[in-house]
């Protein structure tokens, strides 16, 4: 019964997408406004269909309806409630259902937002493209990835989710956030394609998609950070990023997406970099599909094991059609696409953004090459291979440092061109702080060129951000009598985009510092202890107290109780699940602002009662999570509509002018 209803919902979604595309297409072709308005209603239809299908799936999971293959494979009677809920996206078919739910949700919000422009061909074409993507994913569920497929023999109990997916509540957040990020980029993509088709590739489509792009980017950022957190806190191998193909699959669209949200500012301000912007957003969408393909098709070796499925060829075909379609569209409009106007000076904000684009695109190319190289090589020789981490690090670190530099300098560069004096005045204090940091670190004997450079650039960036904020507050207080906090808040509200962006940059600095410190200065040891025995690692004294075993229907957990002097009791563990060989380790972590103490249980206590613990000291890891949080906070600020007062005209840019600070504040604020 449920199976039939669920499948019906999917069929309705598919039909709705087809009808929506047909109606809108007819409306555009016949120039009939009534059809354009009618076509939009199908967006509501597919959204409701997706909600129904998802709800039916959840109901089947909670009811333990093992006649449905997906339910039998992903929940067991002993599975706790939370993991029964998250089982909805534990495997392929369910995750496609989640994808469709997110996609139709975004589309519904977008369609409602543009209701006043229902008859605008740009909006209509964008809706058609988005419905086309929706149609593909619904069709996948009609055929090769049917979440409601039935079993001819109903088992008494299901197998439960993969142990890795029922070990930590994070499974309720990481995949949905990631999907909301991936899927969100479908909307800017649709508008970009619509812009190419209608020939309206000016600034209009950019303004239309700005908010959605930021929201999608924020979710993707959160999703990636949560993935790193999962790696670190849940999987217990001691690291947070392994340059694994599945991880890279999430990073690639993030890189091009970040380039895009910066590069659009140049097109808004000066109408330039049009080809870059269109290409970046089209590439971002293609990369999300490529990412899904790499993750789910099993073509590349990955430690993220997903079960076999046959949708690989379908995803590949879809990716091919989309990618070639994008290339064809750009090629068709090539003559008219190039922006009028040239970059005036290499030392200008436009130039900095162009370099930014090149760096991000280069980084994406580096990661993409490293990820798919095994496929190319294996097509020509019979041996299996992987690309080791040093490749990604050796190529990535210099690019990362360059990006950090431009992030610090970029916001200080004026548009168009500048005089050396203006530049010197703006960069002086931050540069000094950066240089002093560098000297202090070198004198203090800090290890690693990359680390020292990263910290110095971080100090440089923070100072330049601080300087911008201070100047802005001071300018406001000279114009009206406000206290500092009030001035700060009102200043931010006057230009949420700028200050939100600066907050995000602060977060990036924190993340960069955390990455540099945690890569360079990790200490790893193993200790074997008998009960009551102690060992000291890097100043931490650990005493093995004994073992505790927890049994539940869901799993059996063996915990090693360890007392860390001064910090309390910690319990790294290994859990075993029925129906699954081997154990899943859970680390026990003490988080501090300066460093983490990271304990893992390498081997359970054996007959002689000794236990082997992994002990790791990871510096500054917590700043990775804090930095991620700050990035999200900044994005939220940037999304708040700005309260604009009357513009103060720029009267002069002469450095002698006593109002040069005011001028800069105004220029920065407008």
């Amino acid at each position: 019964m449920r199976s039939a209803l669920g499948y019906l919902a999917i069929a309705v979604g598919t039909a709705g997408s087809v009808l929506g595309i047909a109606t809108l297409g007819a409306g555009l072709h016949l120039r009939r406004d009534s059809l354009l308005r009618a076509g939009r209603r199908y967006v509501g239809v597919v959204f409701v269909a997706a909600i129904c299908a998802f709800a039916i799936m959840e109901s089947a999971l909670f009811a333990h309806d093992f006649s449905i293959k997906y339910v039998a494979g992903n929940v067991a009677r002993a599975t706790p409630g939370l993991y029964t809920f998250t089982a909805a996206w534990a495997a392929l078919e369910g995750s496609i259902l989640l994808w469709v739910l997110a996609l139709t949700g975004y589309l519904a919000v977008t369609t409602w937002h543009f209701r006043a422009r229902a008859t605008d061909p740009l909006v209509a074409w964008a809706t058609i493209v988005a419905l086309g993507v929706t149609l593909f994913f619904f069709a996948l569920m009609l055929g090769p990835a049917n979440p409601f497929e039935e079993l001819s023999r109903v088992p008494v109990d299901g197998t439960g989710p993969n142990p890795l997916l029922q070990n930590h509540p994070l499974v309720a957040f990481h995949p949905p956030m990631l999907y909301l990020g991936y899927v969100g980029f479908t909307i800017p993509f649709s508008f970009a394609v619509a812009a190419l088709i209608t020939g309206r590739f000016g600034e209009g489509w950019l303004a239309d998609v700005r908010r959605t792009t930021l929201v999608a980017w924020a979710f993707l950022t959160v999703g990636i950070i949560l993935g790193a957190w999962w790696s670190y806190e849940v999987l217990g191998w001691g690291g947070y990023w392994g340059w694994d193909p599945v991880e890279n699959a999430s990073l690639l669209p993030w890189l091009t997406g970040t380039a895009f949200i910066h590069s659009v500012m140049v097109q808004e301000r000066r109408g330039m970099l049009r080809v870059w912007n269109i290409s970046l957003v089209l590439a971002t969408f293609c990369l999300t599909i490529l990412g899904t393909f790499l993750t789910r098709s099993g073509v590349v070796e990955s430690v993220h094991s997903f079960s076999e499925s046959s949708i690989g060829p379908w995803l590949l075909a879809f990716l091919g059609v989309v990618a070639l379609g994008c290339v064809a569209l750009i090629s068709w409009r090539a003559d008219k696409l190039r922006s009028p106007g040239r970059i005036d000076s290499p030392v200008s904000r436009e130039a900095a953004f162009l370099v930014n684009n090149l760096l991000f695109a280069g980084f994406a190319l580096v990661v993409l090459t490293g990820t798919v190289f095994p496929l190319l090589a294996e097509a020509f020789q019979d041996r299996r291979l992987t690309v080791g981490e040093p490749y990604f690090e050796r190529m990535g670190v210099p690019i990362g440092i360059a990006l950090l530099f431009f992030m610090a300098v970029g916001p200080l560069l004026p548009w168009r061109a500048t005089s050396g004096d203006v530049l010197r005045r703006r960069l002086l204090v931050p540069a000094w702080v950066g240089a002093i940091t560098l000297v202090v670190l070198v004198v203090a004997g800090a290890d690693g060129v990359a680390q020292v450079v990263a910290f110095s650039l971080g100090a440089f960036a923070l100072t330049s951000i601080g300087r911008t904020v201070v100047i802005g507050i001071r300018a406001r207080r000279r114009a009206r009598a406000e206290s500092v906090p009030v001035a700060a808040v009102r200043m931010v509200r006057g230009n949420t985009r700028l200050y939100g962006g600066l907050i995000v940059h602060v977060g990036v600095v924190l993340v960069a510092v955390a990455l540099a410190a945690s890569q360079g200065y990790v200490v790893k040891r193993e200790v074997t202890l008998t009960e009551g025995e102690s060992a000291t690692v890097r100043g931490y004294t650990l005493t093995y107290l004994g073992t505790e075993i927890d049994r539940s229907p869901q799993k059996t957990t063996v915990k090693a109780l360890v007392d860390v002097e001064g910090l309390g009791e910690y319990a790294p563990a290994i859990s075993t699940f029925p129906n699954s060989r081997g154990g899943i380790g859970t680390p026990s972590v003490h988080t501090g602002f300066r460093e983490d103490l990271y304990l893992t249980l390498i081997s359970s206590p054996n007959e002689t009662g000794t236990v082997t613990l992994g002990v790791q000291v990871n510096p500054m890891i917590v700043w990775l999570w804090i930095g991620g949080g700050v990035m999200v906070l900044g994005t939220i600020v940037a999304l708040i509509p700005a309260r604009r007062r009357s513009r103060v005209p720029v009267t002069s840019e002469s450095p002698e002018s006593p109002d040069s600070e005011l001028v800069e504040a105004v220029e920065v604020a407008t």
Binding site: E301, V303, S305, G362, V366, T369, G370, F373, A377, R383, R384, L385, T386, V387, G388, E389, P390, Y391, R394, M395, E526, T528, I574, F577, P578, N579, R581, G582, G583, G585, I602, S603, S604, T612, G614
Partner: protein, 135 residues
């Protein structure tokens, strides 16, 4: 203008070339035991096979064992303690370098794969019980 684009193009090619060199230097092959032993390559490599029962010899901070595939057996010394799943007959991938006829590994993964085959004529009474899977 022309010159500037030429410089940019050459620069890009140089960076790309450097990138490929770094890539090539960091490729890690995965071979089954039979092929790895036949051609003991320099540099970092990965070898897949299964643990021969009765050969596991744990020492302080390291474990020595024999690994087999395709009828060939090899010696492995792994630095560090192996994970809980490590046992006789476990399918493993070790990563490291050759030191003479012994393979010194610093990374050990238990994997699922089909490249394992026991040497002819050997029986595996020491393989652990498959166990009761119906939990």
């Amino acid at each position: 203008m022309r010159v500037r684009w030429a410089v940019v193009a050459v620069g890009c090619l140089a960076v790309a070339g450097m990138g490929f060199v770094v890539l090539k230097n960091n490729v890690v092959y995965l071979d089954p035991v039979s092929e790895a032993v036949a051609d003991k390559a320099d540099g970092r490599t990965r070898i897949g096979g299964a643990v021969v029962p009765g050969t596991i010899d744990g020492r302080e901070g390291a474990v020595a064992f024999e690994m087999t595939e395709g009828g060939v057996v090899m010696d492995v010394v792994h630095e560090g303690s192996p994970p809980d799943l490590f046992e006789a007959c476990a399918p493993v991938v070790v990563e490291g370098r050759w030191a003479g006829n012994t393979f010194e590994s610093d990374r050990l993964l238990i994997r699922h794969g089909n490249e394992y085959e026991p040497p002819d004529g050997e029986s595996y009474d020491d393989c652990p019980d498959a166990g009761d899977g119906s939990g």
